[in-house]
Every structure is written in C-alpha cells, then in structure tokens.
Symmetry: C2
C-alpha cells in the first residue's frame, strides 16, 4: 500500500452522528482522497507513506463544514457589541464597511479567518463578501476548501461603486476564479431588503448559467419579515418561490421566522438552509424552527456567520450552542441531540453546499480530516462522541488535512505566516479604533 | 520593592466590567495578596522578585469565580446526554452515583475538575457533593480556592448510609476541615424535594453556628415548583423565607422559575443566587429571570453546575452562553452585556459566596490572577475586553496564580500530576462503561 499521509493509532469517528467508533484505526490518504481505512490490525504490512501521523490519544473525524461566513469581517470582531440591531448595523458596521473594506483588507482579514477556522476544525467554508476574489486568494493560499460567493447589493458596495454594474461584476468574478478543486465560486445576494426582486432573478440566472450556488440571507429578524410583507404583500420565502429562486442550487441563510407552509416550500424545492445559532442569539434575531425544518426534510447546515455578529468562527462551540439553545427554548432535553449537531456541521452542511464527497471517512471521499486531542481534563473521561458537542472547543483540534494537504500539525499552521497575518489585521484595526 | 511574583508588560483589566484597560502594566504579589499595581513606567527601579512573569501579549485579570459545581461528577461527563430529565436522573445519574461514588472517586474526580477549572481561568469554586472532605483535600492539594459544601439529603447517600445522621455527618465534616485560607467549609442541602423543611432548618442552624454558607438548589424546573406547590401550598422561595432560611449566608442555586414577589424576597433577604445557564439549557430547565433579578438588586454569580449536566467547567464559555441566551430569549440585543457577564463571573459571584477581597486587581486584594493569551487568531483584533465573553475560551488561559501561588504556567499545571489524575478517572470510568 502506497499513500501520501498515513494516520495511525486513532480512534476513528467515520460517520459523525452514527455514534460508532473504531477504537484503534488507520486512515490512508493518497492525493486528494482517502484511499484506505481500517483497524490497525489490518494495516497492510507493506505500507509506504510519505508522512505518518501518530494519532494516539486523538479522535480522527471528517473536518467540519461552516455553511455561512463573512470571513473578512474578522476586522470588525468586537468593534460594537451589545447594541440595538439598527444602531449596530447603521451606526457601526455599515459605516466601518464603507470606509475600511478594501482589497487588502479582504485578503488579510479573510486569511486570518481561515487560520482561525482551520485551528478550530473547519475544513470547508461557504463565504460571502465583497472583493471576494481576494478572499478566494486567501483561502487558496492557506488551503481551506471554500465556496466563495461574491456579494450583490443594490447600493454602492466595496469594489462595485455603481450598483447598476453589480451583476456584471459578479459575472467577471466567477470567470476570473481559476478552475480549482479547492475554491468554488458562487453568488451572494445580500437579502430581499437590499436587493430588488429583479436583481435576485438576474443573479439566479447568472448562477444557473455558471452552475454555481446562490446564497441569500432570509427571514433573519421578525422586523425584516414584517417590513417585507408590508412592502410586497407576501412573506420572503413565498416571494422567493414566486420569483423561481428556490431550488437545489439556492442556499437560504438564517430562516428564523418561518411558518409551516414556508418550511414545506423549503423542503419541496430542495434548497439548502444554513442556521447560525450564535449570531441569531447575540443579535437577538430569534430561534430558527430547526426541529420542524428537519422533520420536514429540509437540508440544513450550520454557519458561524461573520465575526461582527458571533464573535468567533468556532464550529465546535456553534454545535454546543445549537444543541443547548433548542433544548431550552423548547423545554425539551431530547431536542437537537449531539448526533444531529454533528451531522449538520458535517455531511448535511456539505450537502447543502453541493458537496457529496465530504462528511465521512471512507475510501473515495475527499481527504478533509481533523484530529481532536482527547488527552485533556475537559475531555476526560470519554464515553462517546457526544463529548465533541458538549465539552470540546476549537482549541482541541490538533491537526488538519484538507484535500490531502496537511495544513495544521500539532496546532501549528503550515501554510501561512500567522504572525504576519495577525500583525496586518492589527494594523488595519488601529485605523478603526 | 520586594515581592514574590511580579507580572510585567501586561494589559491589565483591573476591574472586569468597567471596560478600562491599563495598556502596559505590572502587578506585584507578596504572600497571598496583591501588593502593588501600576503602569510599567512607574515600576520601582529597585524591585526584587522571586519570580517574574512576562505577560507581553496577554491580558491580566482577576481569576474567575465558579459559583456552583459538583466537581466529582466529572466521572459522569457525557455518560447520558439528550435524555428526558427524569430518565437522565433516575435511570442514569442516581444509579451511577449510588454505585460508583466513593472517597477515592470524589478525590480523583474532584482533582480532575479542579485541573479543568484552573486551566480555564477559575480560581475560586463553590462545590457541593458527598464525601466533600475528599473534594476539599483535592482542592487544597492543587491549590484552588474553594467553598466546599457537604451534601445533605433525606435519603441514604454516599458516606451517609442512614439519613438520620446527615446533619451530624455535616457537623463532623465542618469540624474536620482545617483552618485554612484556601478551603472554606459549607453545607449543601440538595433541594426542597430531597430534604424536608425540618432538615433544611436544622442544617441552616448548624451553618449559622459554624458561620458558614448554606447552598440549596431551588426552582430549577417548572415541574419542581408545581409539585412543591401541590405538596405544601406555597412556592419554594416563599417556603424558604417562611422557614427563615433566606439571609446573606444562604445561596440559592438555579432560581429559574420565580415570580416578581419571589425576586423581591431574594433581594430583600440579601441571599446569593447562582445562575447556571448551560446546565439549564442542556437539561431544558428554562431561562432564569436574570435581568429582573439584577434590576431588583439580587446578588448573582454564575456557575457551571456539574459535568453530568453541562458538560464542561469552562466559565468563559458559560459567560458567552449567558450573554447570548438572554439576548435571544428576550429578543433584546442589549440584554446581559459583556461587562455584566464579567462582573457576575468575578466580583459579584465572589460577593454571593461571601468573599470581599476577590474580583479586582488592587493592592490588598487576594492574589487570584489569570493571564489570557491574546496573541491568537480568534482574539485578533483586540478592541476591548468584551472579546473575553464573545470570543475567548478556557483554552486561552495561559497562567494562573491563586492566593499568591503560581498553579498554572504557560498552560502547564504545577501542582498536580495531570496524567496520573486522568488515568485514575479513566480507570474509574471503565467500570461504568
């Protein structure tokens, strides 16, 4: 057996959410894929590997999928907390974006975000922002798998001063992204309150022509839904359906304020939904009807949202918040069990983003693999993988492989000068403070 | 200036919750106390220190106060998640406790808990369990400040097979704890549904005679309050007031289901309240009326509760959950601002436990000090201390001093053989699994 990377002596969580664990296993990576997996006793005697990772004391599992992020917004982390929503947005975030978003800012701040995500177990991220080609460049350089979506908005935006050119700019963005396994281009219409129905329809047409995903924030706050109804006489999800926007290649983000008929629409059209529990909590947006969505068969993933509203990008923490939030608000301790959270932050999130080959350890799947250091007080004892949801945090991630490339080893990032990146972001932050 | 430990080049958060930061400061520790504090420019030229800690890149702040824990329950971490409350308690936790709680278990599992707490920034813990003298021994050995409360229950309990002897056993426990600055003995009546009114009254009398605190779980679930009313014709808090239990030396834990008059009782009697947001979330107990309690002037601290119901002991994560839970359930993003969370997890929690000299960095205060490593992607940029609540986790704690003793340095525990402790707990866990 020849392989590039061989992980040995690992507890294997091959299918997160199934609960099953292989006590002493190995995973072989060849090129970008997992080539073989099994129990240590069955490791071929003749194996040859360029790199061996001894994962004794670690849990080895598929990398996590962050279904929604605005990576560049690391610059605004903690800039304006605990404020009323409109003060936060109109008094702080929008003005800061108008003044400080540049190509340079998007590149460095997205790089910082990618570093944070890799350090906390994310191997795939769906991102949406402006100057997204710079985010794509940062993701490609550090080696994180990404769906990178160019922002579309009917207002002057960073890099798109005239909104009349926003679709053309988006088309140019998609054309300029090189054919690459790691970064997939997409479009991101900000919302129904910042994009006209016409803009969203044209964006969807472009997305379809380019076979790419269209993301949109929908039904995040009660006020948004009320205002939309007042303006159009129809609720946002119904409106999107009427505009023919909803299908398997559309991803609706947030979906907090939905009625039963809208949940049925999301299920029937097959569009993806990304829930962002910590962002919805911190901004007091509300609690998404997740149990109902899952019961209806909607494909759901989890997102961290951007750092202005979360304020970190730790999907392990996000799973814990998801599980606990839904239990307490339904007064039902069996709601959102750990296994469900693990599936949403993995395989189901990948499915929402259109990736079939991500979310389990199996030959032929993408080699997106993380190791979790279980040899720590807060992860002792280890009875079952639920501990990942209820006690682990991003800092427990030890190593990460993305598309066959080792990007993190013993918590050292191998594909980025981290000090340089932090220094650049701090220097940008000093202009704001 | 002579001192034992000198922390230099630090960002100082002297009064968490105030927002004010000293950019480049020093803290001098002499014996158990903080002896001097100031800006680096004012550091006396003639200083002598046994140990210098260079905290460049770190935030230095008072250690955190965990107002409620069952340390020994680390053994049951993740044993039974996502279950209906009564199945969890009667089908798993109570049987496991009946079978596996021993002196040895309490000693080693409390030691593991203390290690986890120190590693995540806690310097003071209020604990309650059985064989609490073994917990006290573990706390004293590792060097964590503790209020260690012996459990009282009207059923056969570990170490107290005949409940008729539970008060006597508690008295013996208090008498046996040596006069010691670090561990303060206390009593812990489990609840109004496991202790009779008479037991609670006698326990309170004993607590008063010994000048120690009495802890009790109250109004954790709606069912508990309903059942209590059905049995006694009065709600739990009113009942405790009628029994003369509530005063400055009583600490009520949970207090989720209260009406306005009960909040007024808590404020008027001056008793402490400990809120355990993550435990209340995970067990779907409910959301405590915290904003109303604080508005009424109730003294409130934060607790992690035990590992069977949380499942970790990370107060930084607990603050994040507290802040976000209360925002989303009130749909009010200004609720529970970061500064309030920092005060509850520090000075206010200490006040609820009866410690006046804890919770700020000031000469004459206890030298309970932690350093947080800010030089990390998820803590970059740093605009203000809110980042501790919304982005930091326990793993960011670098060093810890408790009562003048350095117990953690660069994430290495200095007062415990951590591998031995984890091995002991794993060995106990194997008997359960």
């Amino acid at each position: 057996m020849n392989c590039n990377i061989l992980i040995i002596n690992a507890r294997l969580l091959e299918n997160p959410g199934s609960g099953a664990i292989t006590a002493q296993g190995f995973v072989a990576v060849k090129g970008r894929m997992i080539s073989q997996i099994g129990q240590m006793g069955n490791l071929p005697k003749d194996f040859k590997a360029d790199k061996i990772i001894d994962a004794a004391g670690c849990l080895v599992m598929p990398g996590l999928v962050n279904g929604h992020c605005h990576a560049a917004m690391t610059l605004f982390r903690g800039l304006a907390d605990d404020l009323p929503l409109m003060t936060w947005l109109n008094g702080h975030i929008f003005p800061a974006e108008a003044k400080y978003v540049s190509k340079d800012m998007v590149y460095w701040c997205s790089k910082l975000a990618a570093a944070e995500m890799i350090l906390s177990g994310t191997t795939t991220v769906a991102d949406g922002y402006f100057f997204e080609e710079e985010a794509a460049r940062a993701f490609r350089e550090i080696g994180i798998r990404a769906v990178a979506a160019q922002g579309i908005i009917d207002f002057p935006a960073p890099g798109v001063p005239d909104p009349a050119g926003n679709i053309e700019a988006a088309g140019n963005y998609i054309a300029a992204i090189p054919a690459d396994d790691l970064v997939t281009p997409a479009l991101f219409c900000h919302s129904l309150y910042t994009c006209s129905p016409r803009t969203i329809q044209v964006a969807k047409q472009l997305a379809d022509e380019c076979s790419c995903k269209l993301f949109i924030h929908v039904a995040e706050t009660r006020a948004e839904v009320k205002n939309h109804y007042k303006q159009y006489g129809i609720t946002p999800i119904r409106h999107l359906q009427k505009l023919n926007i909803l299908d398997k290649n559309t991803v609706c983000v947030h979906c907090v304020w939905l009625d039963a008929a809208e949940i049925a629409i999301l299920a029937k059209t097959g569009c993806g939904v990304i829930t962002c529990p910590e962002s919805n909590m911190k901004l007091a947006a509300g609690v998404a009807p997740l149990a109902d969505m899952l019961a209806a068969g909607v494909t759901v993933g989890i997102g961290t949202d951007g750092c202005a509203s979360n304020n970190d990008l730790d999907l392990l923490g996000e799973m814990a918040s998801l599980a606990k939030l839904h239990k307490v608000t339904s007064l039902e301790p069996t709601s959102m069990p750990a296994g469900t959270c693990l599936r949403l932050a993995g395989k189901e999130g990948a499915r929402a983003l259109g990736f079939a080959g991500i979310g389990s350890l199996r030959p032929g799947m993408q080699a997106d693999i993380i190791t979790i250091d279980l040899n720590q007080p807060h992860l002792t004892p280890f009875y079952n993988p639920d501990i990942l949801v209820y006690a682990a945090s991003g800092a427990d991630v030890k190593s990460s492989i993305i598309g066959g490339q080792l990007v993190l080893e013993n918590r050292r990032l191998l594909t980025i000068d981290l000090e340089e990146t932090m220094a650049k972001v701090r220097s940008l932050a000093r202009q704001l403070a």
